[in-house]
Symmetry: D3
Subunit: 137 residues, 6 copies
């Protein structure tokens, strides 16, 4: 369910259908997940979000699986249940192994712990870590 | 600065010195950063945190640089200034390129945006994403 | 459900009933929502929270609907499911249109994204944005 | 300061300059604030972020000042110092009065408080608030 | 500094002065800290916030020092630098020892870590922990 | 449920069984809650997390119940439903009364509110609260 329910493919207007088609073609699937069907009530948001996501998650200096791991790290830290469920499934589909999942969760847990120790002990930034950093070539 | 100031190597007790020595040996550096010097007021915490971090950040199913990227993703989402500064510097030292940094930030930003769209539109989890997932071999 | 269950009107003590009566009178409804019935186990908290909310959400320099939009923005950012559901319903009751809902969610998503880009790129505050600002008349 | 420092107009490549020009033209100013100069190291991110922001913050079903208030509500909840400073200044420039600022902060504070009371008391969503809601015309 | 600067005692109107007087009398001090001087631009907010805080932080079923520890736990988790600094100082003034501070920080760190492990592993609530709980006498 | 389901005692390998045995012996119970059964897929994480938790939550300068209250404060602020449910049940088992629960929630709510007022009003830290603080004996 979602605030206004889901817009299914057959009920979608042409602008929404075009995005759905591109999602399915890009992902080589015939499945549109709930997120897209929920925000399709705002076709401009649907289009902008999909196009940004498609560009950002494409292979680049980081591979798509690494990007999924980062997505999960953000989603767990934000406690977004839907996002965790969907990106965990997606990461497995892209080749995440059980061992990778476990190390990912351990790093997320550890980072959240040390983030708070740093904060609680009010630790000032070492001068050598202060930006600007020299841009690596 | 930090709540109780920093404990420098020469002022440290043997238990703290042993951790400092291990940090420097493991990281092949003679520098102890502020975080450790701030929490050294609690030697048990210092030891437990360092040993957990050392185990978790070691090479495994994920390589150390990927783990740094995940650490940064958590730290940015938590808005922990110290953690962002130190792990960004550390990631560059481990081989992160400018292009990798930029893709990392783009994914973090996008994930934070879609996390909130999912939440605001109250999107229910697709049944196919519901755990338990089959454990990949 | 809630930690201690709900206190219904007929089971409430006079102090709680007085708050329930004021909620119904102020909101022109005969419905008390779960939040109030859950915190009624602490009558002092119930009274203080209701009186603060009533004062803060009243028409003023900002109209009540704008205040609901702000409430939703906070609740989505905090990922508070109950709060999102109840304030979204409430905003629609106060005149929010579907177009307003959609723009609200787009702004919330965008703000969450740029908050993290600013944080991840460690951007210092422009001197012209530094407080104190001159107080507008 | 920022991770890689700021790219000033005169040092910018044509793609970045085009975005800077559009920012200044749209906002009727000759000032480019630090955020844009920090992310200009990634011209694709700069362009996508600016174009999304420009579309989202334009007048629509919600007026630009209301959108700034929502932006501030998110930024305060996320504790993003830069974002608070820049959007507070921006909101005053768009006509926010001191009284509006004060009501905004009071609502943000109250929403954060009740978000946590709801959460701590584990309050279930009233069935009447459960989505889907009927879409208002 | 703060958005509109600080209102000092001698510049305060009678409503603000009355709150300042009560703060100093209640806390047995002649010092008004920056928070109050910043929100004094909104005398109604100042009064409501102080009166709520005074009631909530008073001795009750929990002693005032325990309440400060809880305040710090929230403030660290929210990454509120001002709040951490002021409540840490306040807790020491109320009798927190170094050992208590250290255990507090260790618990905060651990709780943040396990919160995220629970979330990342998508753990469902045990039926025995499901509310409603029986109210202890 | 959880990402990979739960590992029950009889299906556990010896390393996991050893941790389960220690949990039951330490807590004087024959019940292993879902969290441990979910992370048991990573026996090293299970062991490290349990041993850290056992050390941190043991009686010390702070008593175990106070530590549970702090755990709840973090969990509510992070909006971790599982953690709130399990630690609230646990705190009641350790002697938390209804009055203590209510004061705890009131402090959590208040702290979250004032955290955001401080942040929204951009209040600078009083020089007397700046670390380092003198370490109490």
């Amino acid at each position: 369910m979602s605030t206004f329910g889901f817009i299914e493919y057959n009920d979608a207007n042409p602008q929404v259908k075009a995005v759905y088609d591109d999602i399915m073609a890009t992902r080589k699937t015939d499945y549109i997940n709930n997120f897209w069907k929920a925000i399709a009530h705002d076709p401009a948001l649907l289009k902008r979000t999909w196009e940004s996501l498609k560009a950002i998650m494409a292979p680049g200096a980081l591979d798509p699986l690494t990007k999924e791991l980062i997505y999960i790290a953000v989603s767990v830290t934000n406690n977004c249940g839907y996002c965790i469920a969907s990106h965990t499934a997606s990461a497995f589909a892209k080749g995440m192994t059980a061992a990778m999942f476990q190390e990912l969760q351990a790093v997320i847990g550890m980072a959240n712990e040390t983030n708070k120790l740093v904060t609680g002990y009010q630790v000032a930034i070492d001068s050598r870590f202060q930006p600007p950093l020299e841009l690596p070539k």
